[in-house]
């Protein structure tokens, strides 16, 4: 990867204020700023701008507290106490207190389609809350969860009591001004931002000391430009200051323009190919392993990402505790062929359902199909639109794709995927499932970090040896901006683009 360019080049003197106009891709008509319904890239980073969390993963995927002063559990991990920082103001002037946190939980559970509910469903008991004082909340969980604090760190945006999504109010650095799905949204500077002097994410061009409290910008205008070419055109012609979801092939264009800069970062986000372990031929572990051995990860990385990413070994969450960096899968066509033959599935034909879940989803499948052919497996790639992909068959495709952002913790991820009855794509069963469950329960019940790491690693190993996931690589995120803006974070491991949405540290230099 070529990183974020050579040295810092800024266009002029840093200044406060001004409007930042960006163009974003990946938007949908169904986008909403309701922080419980975040279902696309743009809204996920926009939520960071408007709202805030109790705890958070930094752009480097390091866990830290955010609006919480402390999050502590009892020894068994089934009772957690959250203490809030004082004097945090909502955009409407209200001070953040324990009621707001409670309300946020209640809303999460009652709002149809809330995406954050999956992480909490198994643990949170809405009747188990006790408000100790204005800033302190105690939660009795249904069962132990040693990783509950990390669940709070993945997008769980605190909203005030009586929150109305049509007029979103949060504690983030910018206030909501207007929002039209699939067109544009506008936010303006929130003068009373609680974390105005807090630490910033590492940047090649950090704001000079004299720039005052964050956020530096007066206004943030996000235009939806879903077409990749139109987006870069807008940047090149100076209609916008920054764009996200740059295509790898467009990087040379950015490099050719002196006034443009590339913002590239590794991520932990991945697009996976999922084998349904309850349906033939993938009910046979040998077939699964054969495919995993057949795929040429380097070639996939080159073909799909032009090399802009890192090879993965079918295991997600590379930044999580317990991630087994030593498990590396080398391509081995002979073994793959042998396994396939052993399974009696030589020449088997399967249909791989793919769709535009990410830019690389389709090409990844093409590469896989290409590689599979070499071991005598015929993979027919069927491309469908998202409506069909996520249609009623979504959880029952024999062979399909989906994209995930990193959760920061493997246990959380497993709860949302393989261990969930309703939302799994791989459908592990029998002994595997039981074993995974057992390990998961044990891990959640152990407050000892080291032991948890060992248990997690065991789960990782099961995945590695018997799982239904094919994860060839982690893709980089590519953004670009012009030199009239600076302060952009260097890293964006969560892969939410625009430096994980940390616009509060961006400033203009014109």
């Amino acid at each position: 990867a070529c990183g974020s360019g050579s040295g810092a080049r800024t266009g002029g003197t840093p200044r406060r204020g001004g409007t930042l106009t960006v163009a974003t891709g990946g938007a949908k008509g169904s986008d909403t700023l309701d922080p419980m319904l975040l279902n696309s890239i743009p809204v996920s980073y926009m939520a960071r701008v408007i709202y805030d969390q109790l705890a958070d993963f930094g752009n480097d995927m390091e866990y830290h507290l955010q609006m919480a002063e402390s999050i502590e559990s009892n020894g068994t991990g089934d009772e957690w106490t959250i203490r809030l920082k004082p004097d945090i103001l909502f955009h409407n002037g209200k001070t953040l207190d324990a009621d707001d946190v409670l309300f946020t939980f209640q809303r999460t559970f009652s709002l149809p389609g809330a995406v954050t509910v999956g992480k909490f469903k198994a643990f949170v008991d809405l009747d188990g809350f006790t408000k100790l004082d204005r800033r302190t909340l105690r939660m009795k969980l249904l069962r132990p969860s040693a990783t509950f604090h990390t669940a709070l760190a993945s997008p769980f945006k605190i909203v005030p009591v009586g929150f109305d999504p049509r007029n979103p109010v949060g504690t983030g650095p910018f206030k909501y001004k207007s929002f039209t799905p699939n067109r544009q949204w506008v936010c303006e500077r929130f003068a009373d931002y609680w974390n105005a002097d807090g630490p910033s994410q590492p940047s090649a061009t950090p704001a000079p000391p004299g720039l005052g409290p964050k956020p530096y910008l007066d206004e943030l205008v996000v235009n939806v430009v879903n077409d990749d070419s139109a987006r870069i055109n807008a940047l090149v012609t100076g209609q916008v200051d920054a764009i996200n979801l740059l295509q790898y092939a467009q990087i040379p264009t950015i490099e050719r323009h002196r006034e443009l800069k590339l913002l590239e970062s590794r991520t932990g986000a991945w697009t996976g190919i999922y084998m349904n372990m309850r349906q033939p031929p993938f009910d046979d572990v040998r077939v699964r392993q054969a495919l995993r051995l057949a795929i040429d990860r380097e070639q996939a990385l080159t073909a799909c990402l032009s090399g802009h990413g890192v090879v993965a070994n079918d295991l997600p969450e590379p930044f999580a505790t317990g991630y087994p960096a030593s498990l590396v899968r080398e391509r081995d066509l002979d073994r793959a062929r042998a396994l396939l033959r052993e399974a009696g599935q030589d020449g088997v034909e399967v249909e791989l359902v793919t769709g535009p879940v990410s830019t690389e989803a389709v090409s990844m499948c093409t590469v896989l199909a290409d590689n599979a052919a070499e071991i005598g497996m015929k993979v027919k790639v069927r491309q469908v639109d998202t409506a069909t992909l996520f249609g009623p068959n979504f959880h029952h495709w024999p062979f399909s794709v989906d994209k995930w952002p990193p959760q920061g913790d493997f246990l959380t991820l497993m709860a949302l995927t393989d261990l969930s009855d309703t939302t799994t794509l791989t459908h592990p069963g029998g002994a595997d499932l039981a074993e995974l469950r057992g390990l998961y329960e044990q891990a959640q019940a152990s407050t000892d970090g080291t032991r948890r790491a060992v248990l997690t690693r065991k789960m990782y190993e099961i995945q590695y040896e018997r799982g239904g996931w094919i994860i060839p690589f982690f893709a980089n995120v590519e953004n670009a901006h012009n030199v009239r803006t600076a302060g952009w974070p260097e890293q964006d491991f969560p892969g939410r683009t625009f430096g994980n949405g940390h616009f509060e540290q961006v400033y203009r230099t014109d």
Binding site: I232, Q247, S306, G307, V362, T366, V367, D370
Partner: protein
């Protein structure tokens, strides 16, 4: 007209024998994406690292096939409807042509989008979708041409003989609307090519990894700065083909039909 024939013939040649000449399979990844022309990939590679030349050679089939069959079916069905309506007159005429009017109220591409939203564009269905989009338009043209003929005395003369209706449509009317229909066919073929490639461009047409000129333009457009051939060559192919069919139609219209193609269609 001769130039048109040569151009169209050239494209058809590429389409027919191209796949056999292709140095690679059209969906084989042979190098890094958007690599410039080299000995292995004479026109460089595309967004996935597939060989542009092989894809160009393979990618004409779908577009030519879909637009040709689609147009042919559309023109045939539309002509049948238009002639039947014109000759039958009365209730049949009203019923058929008003239905066509309703369909015609949707611009072809909008009608296609509507159909595509119903039935995904499987490559086998695409000609049908293209055909349906043309039927009402062609019916209108055929109706106009046939209406001019049905009042003529030679049709009456056949009626006075008691010639069966179908025979009158086939023997007396069809030969007379044939010329405008041929011109119309040529024009619509040109438009079909545009529409089929536009469908690919809008993402509602053929889907990767199929090789298709329209799709190639869409896929490789972002790499234009790196590797222009992935876009330029398919654009040229589409342009040469439409230009060729257009010239042919124009020539045909001038020499045989002695009309401007537009007169037939408007």
């Amino acid at each position: 007209m001769r130039v048109g024939l040569v151009l169209t013939g050239l494209v058809l040649l590429v389409v027919v024998i191209g796949p056999f000449l292709a140095p690679h399979a059209h969906s084989d990844i042979i190098g890094a994406p958007f690599s410039p022309p080299s000995a292995t990939a004479l026109l460089g590679t595309d967004y996935l690292g597939e060989d542009v030349l092989s894809r160009v050679l393979a990618g004409g089939r779908s577009i030519v096939w879909i637009s040709f069959v689609g147009t042919l079916v559309g023109v045939a069905v539309g002509a049948a409807i238009g002639m039947t309506a014109a000759y039958s007159g009365g209730v049949v005429d009203e019923l058929l042509m008003r239905t066509m009017d309703v369909l015609r109220a949707f611009p072809p591409l909008v009608l296609i989008l509507l159909l595509v939203s119903v039935a995904r564009a499987e490559s086998a269905l695409m000609p049908l979708i293209v055909a349906i989009a043309w039927v009402p338009q062609v019916a209108r043209v055929a109706y106009g041409a046939a209406k001019e003929v049905v009042g003529r005395e030679f049709v009456e003369s056949a009626e006075a003989l008691g010639t069966p209706r179908m025979r009158i449509v086939r023997r007396e009317i069809l030969p007379n609307v044939m010329t405008p229909l041929m011109v119309d066919f040529g024009l619509r073929l040109t438009w079909s090519i545009g529409i089929v490639s536009a469908m690919s461009f809008l993402g509602v047409g053929l889907q990767p990894p199929a090789a298709d000129w329209g799709l190639m333009i869409k896929e490789n457009y972002q790499g234009l700065a790196l590797q222009p051939w992935g876009v330029v060559v398919p654009v040229l192919c589409v342009a040469v083909f439409t230009f060729g069919t257009n010239l042919m139609t124009e020539g045909f219209a001038r020499t045989v039909a002695r009309v401007s193609p537009l007169e037939v269609t408007t």
